[in-house]
């Protein structure tokens, strides 16, 4: 047993990990069943930050991620967009990552056009597109949007868009929602937007698992709500779609359950990880006992 484990080809571990993710995906995909989610306080804080807004309030959604992290952040982007649209908030989309506009298009296509076809571009939502410069962009737009966003993503002049007439800087927003895969992302929004203007700018965020531990120190003063990784996405999905679907006796469409669905593979893969860590420690202690250097 010890020798087998010690000399195990790493490709067997890759195969086990593949199966531990693939099999739950297939079972959940075929049966439509997934594990129950219990939202935590942070998910409630994020949910309530949007619930507390009034119809017509202005929300800036900064989609600072790309396809490489869509597995974690895509479900959050979908749920945030749905929640804002259902609460009749005015949505201003922007991106600090070059592929961010495509992520915005996905959210508009899959949520707004399918479930809120009455919303009008330029009056209810606008896509301001991508601007390079990372934290430099945030530092400028907290005082002046027009300095960098002279047009929207389609090339329409900023001031020709009806809903833009109500804003001149990020400080005019009632809430900023950031979905972040790295730098520039939530950390930079905290550093250059929230911290200098704590009374004017409120930020909630969804981030990748890698970032989450680095952002926890900002909670709750600088960052009242944070969704960490796919677990945070699943909790938030439950809160949003319980309110708008399950509580009204409607079935939640599959496209709004991506986060919850991906928690199944997480459970099995994490169990495998725990077993592998135990096996690794077993080998370590056996070697230590035998005096192997």
């Amino acid at each position: 047993m010890y020798d087998k484990l010690k000399n195990l080809d790493r490709r067997w571990i890759f195969l086990l990990m593949f199966l531990s993710v693939a099999i739950p995906i297939i079972i959940i995909g075929i049966t439509g069943q997934s594990f129950p989610e219990k939202p935590t306080d942070l998910a409630y804080s994020t949910f309530n930050a949007i619930e507390d807004l009034k119809p017509g309030d202005k929300v800036l959604l900064s989609f600072d991620f790309d396809p490489a992290s869509e597995g974690e952040l895509g479900p959050m982007a979908t749920a945030f967009t749905y929640h804002c649209a259902a609460n009749e908030l005015n949505m201003y989309f922007m991106a600090l990552w070059p592929v961010g506009p495509q992520m915005i298009d996905n959210a508009i296509e899959n949520v707004i056009k399918k479930d809120f076809p009455d919303l009008v571009y330029g009056e209810d939502y606008v896509n301001l597109g991508f601007k390079s410069g990372g934290e430099g962009v945030i530092k400028v737009i907290v005082t002046d949007f027009l300095e960098l966003f002279s047009t929207d993503a389609k090339g329409t002049p900023f001031n020709d868009i009806p809903m833009n007439k109500e804003i001149s800087s990020v400080q005019d927003m009632d809430l900023v929602i950031n979905i972040s895969a790295g730098s520039a992302g939530t950390k930079e929004w905290v550093q250059y937007a929230v911290t200098p203007y704590p009374d004017e700018i409120t930020l909630v965020a969804g981030c990748t698992g890698v970032q989450a531990p680095l952002l926890y120190p900002y909670i709750p003063e600088q960052l009242p709500g944070l969704l960490g990784a796919i677990k945070g996405a699943a909790e938030y999905e439950k809160l949003v779609f319980d309110k708008y679907y399950r509580d009204e006796g409607k079935v939640v469409p599959g496209r709004y359950q991506e986060g919850v669905r991906r928690m199944g593979p997480q459970l099995v893969a994490h169990l495998l990880m725990i077993l592998l860590i135990i096996a690794g420690n077993f080998i370590y202690f056996v070697e230590k006992k035998r005096g192997v250097q």
Binding site: R11, F14, F18, V21, A22, I25, I26, G29, I30, G32, A68, S69, E70, G71, E72, G74, P98, V99, E109, G129, F130, K131, S132, G133, E135, G136, S150, T151, G155, T156, P157, D160, E188, V190, Q191, Y192, T195, P196, G209, V210, A212, P213, L214, P217, E221, Q222, G228, A229, I230, K231, P253, G254, Q257, R261, R262, P265, Q266, A269, H270, M273
Partner: protein
């Protein structure tokens, strides 16, 4: 042919045969589009209105100049099948060769990249090279159209850019933007055969401003604000009653902060009380690293899950969580 090569050849042949049968018998991996017609009328000079929109009701569209075109929207296999069963001659749904090709290319590239887990191979190298090349080109094009054109040339000469690239762009020329233009040219000078030292000046400017901006950001958000956030009561009371759990959490936070700081305080040798306190600090740091590792594992598994979902759903049609296809077809 050695045994290993023979096994892999058989595996690939059986896999390819399975894919072909799956594609031919179940249409797996195919994509469909819906044709959408658009018609706009010129109601005033420079103002076009969608004839189907509510805005069109405000105008008399009789005899107005019109423009018509069609675009394609992604459609589901279910819609396509229903349209086919209706046997309508004017079906707006059709098979999309380009999107189908896209799905197969994406699936193949996913497998090429994953094949690295077995061992390095030419398929992986090819996929890696394509990703690097496409990313570099994408960054360059996006940077040109989203930054250089609107934020540099659009500020220096709005009328020229308005006529050439961005209709509707207005405003006065702002010649302060000559400064970034000159700095940008100086930066590119490093590509010239001589005088590469010129590029050091804008580089020095970039490093100086970036360091200044970051320094202020970190001092304000990560140093001063974190000190303020750590000044919390050890005994929490609400409406006169003692809250044990909140007090305990605050106590853990304070102990964690202080002991971790002691660990990084190297002016006193870590012996005696200081050594033991630093040891507690190490435990807190280890717990933090463990939490970070756990989150990272969760993130990586989620990334694997979305790729497998793509392969099983969009490509192989084994699962259909979004109900895009009729069950059983």
């Amino acid at each position: 042919m050695d045994r290993q090569k023979l096994i892999w050849t058989v595996v690939f042949a059986v896999g390819a045969l399975g894919l072909i049968i799956n594609a031919l018998t179940r249409d797996a991996g195919s994509a469909y589009v819906k044709s959408v017609d658009h018609e706009f009328a010129l109601v005033e000079k420079g103002k076009w209105v969608d004839v189907e929109s509510d805005d069109a009701l405000d105008f008399d569209l009789e005899g107005k100049e019109r423009i018509r075109w069609s675009s394609e929207e992604q459609a589901t296999y279910r819609d396509y099948q229903q349209s086919k069963q209706a046997k309508s001659d004017e079906s707006k749904y059709s098979f999309s060769l380009s999107m189908t090709f896209g799905i197969w290319v994406a699936a193949m590239f996913t497998l090429f990249i994953m094949s690295f887990l077995f061992k390095d191979n030419p398929f992986y190298k090819f996929a890696e090279s394509v990703v690097v090349g496409v990313s570099a080109a994408y960054w360059m094009v996006v940077g040109f159209w989203d930054v250089i054109i609107p934020n540099l040339f659009g500020k220096l000469s709005p009328s020229f850019i308005s006529n050439w690239a961005m209709p509707g762009l207005s405003g006065e020329a702002d010649f302060w933007y000559l400064v970034p233009l000159v700095l940008g040219i100086m930066l590119l000078w490093r590509l010239a055969p001589s005088g590469t030292w010129i590029s050091r000046w804008p580089l020095a400017f970039i490093i100086g401003t970036t360091a200044g901006i970051r320094l202020m950001g970190f001092i304000h958000a990560d140093f001063l604000s974190q000190i303020r956030n750590s000044i919390i009561p050890l005994a929490v009371f609400e409406n006169g009653s003692f809250l044990f759990w909140d007090s305990f959490l605050n106590l853990v936070l304070i102990i964690g902060v202080l002991t971790a700081i002691v660990y990084f305080f190297f002016s006193i040798e870590h012996k005696g009380v200081v050594g033991k306190t630093a040891r507690v600090g190490i435990w807190f740091l280890m717990v933090t690293f463990g939490a970070a590792f756990g989150y990272t594992v969760m993130g990586r598994i989620a990334l694997l899950a979305i790729r497998l979902e793509f392969l099983f759903d969009d490509w192989l049609w084994i699962i259909d969580p979004a109900m895009n296809r009729i069950a059983g077809i």
